[in-house]
Amino acid sequence: MQDMTSGKPVVTDTTSTILDRAAEAAARATPDTLAKKVRGLSDRMVAWIFIAPTIVLLLAINIFPLIWAIQLSFTNYRANRPNEEIKNVGLQNYSRILNDADTWMAMQATAHFVFWTILLQTLIGFSLAYLIDRKFRGHAFWTTIILVPMMLSPAVVGNFWRFLYEPQIGLFTYIVSFFTGIPTTDILMLSSVKLAPWAIIIVDTWMWTPYVMLICLAGLRSIPDYIYEAAEVDRASNWRQFWSITLPMALPFIMLAVLFRGIENFKMFDMVNLLTGGGPGSTTEVASITLKREAFEKWRTGFSSAFAIILFVAVFGLANIYVKVLNRVKSR
């Protein structure tokens, strides 16, 4: 680095420079820890000064509220009645959630949503990545185009999908009716109990397939050419190559995408809240929507805190697995 050596600080007192250099030379000859103490702030100090603000912020904004939520989850506190006496109810909130038919309905709706979105996104996303990996002319440009939906606000775009789903005037209903012949007035994407769960799956798949595609593409590109060349020499069929090279080698990447989408969709709120608000009835009431209804509409703060803790534990478990896969992919 040329510009760096020429840009060294101007030190007027030459003796101190010489001393410094001598110290540095001595430091290099001495064990690491001692070397750090020779000059100014020790590295340990610098490290803590650099890291502490982030940790403090996260403790204040994430961990402190979490501890508060844990404490509230054992009470019957209601945020809209702050002056009422707070009673300790022990594990009652937790036992009520686990025995409550409504929360199980919400968990079922969430599972349905998570399962189908992940399945569709993985299938379509991987296929797209596989096609893009054929490296046709202009693939970089079209890849960028395909990536656009995942960058957009799920709330703002999800809200607009309500318009596309309108019976009669909606573009989506019109196109579906055009191809299937079903009258547009019968396609009630958001208000039919049967179709509403699929309405949210379609929007989520439209938005997040590019995400899965991008990670799968990285997986496909991480496979070195010489493995395929060797397979070709061994006269392995394309089919065989796909199952014994492409898929197993891209698998950690696919896992990474699946886990991340799984976590994100498990806590899905914004898009569903704007599209269906959990309706009709509670057919699309995924866990976060239930939580919002309990906490901010019924104001059962203690109860909803307990539910939040349960969700948090589940997500934390998934996140743990995710980080393990992440580190495995990183070492590639």
């Binding site: 060294k8 000059r39 797209l128 607009f160």
Partner: protein, 315 residues
């Protein structure tokens, strides 16, 4: 295709053509909703709800007029008695027997989005750069556990976090304030910033700083004058990722802001006209809101992969 002409791993030209066609087809279909947003924003309200949906229409900026103004219905006599219309919007609105009553809330909400997104991005990138450097260069005790802790905060369900945050902000008077939202978004974004920037800083050879320190720089000077300039690209990419998150965020914003600090995402769905949602105005608001993101996506396209995997996948 002759076997000698192409490498065994290079796809044949037929397979390339098929792949290309399918990808372009998918890309075009996935663009339809976005095309429809922009198209609807230039339609008149009757055109927007026509059956069958109108692909060809006379463009109008009525949607944008309605987005930025509030209007009241008046009698034709009252409107005829008014002085001539001053602006195009005035004229359009009068044709519908209405007069402009004043500006709508869209502009202040949009500005809130700008302030909160930029404020929180600045704080997150500032804290994130320091912490990332700390983790990258020093032997921090329990570094892996701390890094996992930092990342795990990003996975918390927003509604679960919002319940105690709501109570906490109510106690300390941060409810519905830009400062409260900036703090919250900084906390969410700092996890991404630390992980991403650690990846970028890891790539800068340590020898640069070591050489600088031998030349008389202190650790802090070496950080400022050697590492930071080298990390500019990484810092810029990280900043854009943070910006996009804060810009798009809805869950916290809808629960913790209601008035003065409300951002655009919870506001746009509430735009209504007479007798229901004013779709051209909603589409106009959506378009205005999405354009910055489109620009950022193009700028970021090479770093996207890195951003969505917290820096783990680098190509």
């Amino acid at each position: 295709m002759s076997a000698a002409a192409h490498s065994v791993v290079e796809p044949s030209s037929t397979s390339k053509r098929i792949a290309g066609t399918l990808i372009i087809l998918y890309a075009l279909i996935s663009m339809i909703p976005l095309f429809w947003i922009v198209a609807t924003s230039f339609k008149t309200p009757p055109d927007s709800i026509a059956y069958p949906p109108k692909i060809l229409f006379t463009p109008s900026i009525e949607g944008y007029c309605n987005l930025f103004t509030t209007r009241t219905r008046q009698t034709p006599e009252y409107i005829n008695a008014l002085p001539p219309a001053e602006s195009f919007c005035d004229e359009t609105v009068r044709k519908r027997n209405m007069v402009i009553a004043g500006p709508s809330n869209f502009l202040p909400r949009f500005l809130n989005s700008v302030i909160i997104a930029f404020g929180s991005t600045f704080c997150a990138v500032f804290l994130g750069t320091l912490a990332a450097y700390g983790f990258s260069r020093f032997r921090v005790p329990l570094a892996d556990d701390l890094l996992f802790f930092i990342l795990s905060t990003r996975f918390m369900p927003p509604i679960a976090v919002a319940i105690p945050i709501y109570l906490m902000y109510r106690e300390v008077g941060l409810s519905d304030t830009a400062l409260g939202m900036i703090l919250l978004y900084t906390a969410v974004n700092v996890s991404l910033a630390v992980w991403l920037l650690k990846g970028f800083i890891d790539e800068i050879p340590r020898e640069y700083e070591e050489a600088a320190m031998i030349d008389g720089y202190t650790r802090l000077q070496a950080f400022r004058k050697v590492v930071l300039p080298q990390a500019t690209t990484g810092i810029a990419a990280t900043a854009i990722f943070c910006l996009i998150f804060a810009w798009n965020e809805y869950a916290f914003a809808s629960l913790l802001t209601s008035g003065t600090a409300q951002t655009a995402p919870p506001f746009i769905p509430t735009i209504i006209g007479e007798g229901g949602q004013d779709w051209p105005a909603v589409a106009a608001g959506t378009t205005v809101f999405l354009v910055p993101i489109l620009v950022f996506t193009v700028l970021l396209r090479k770093q996207l992969l890195r951003g969505i995997t917290f820096g783990a996948v680098r190509k």
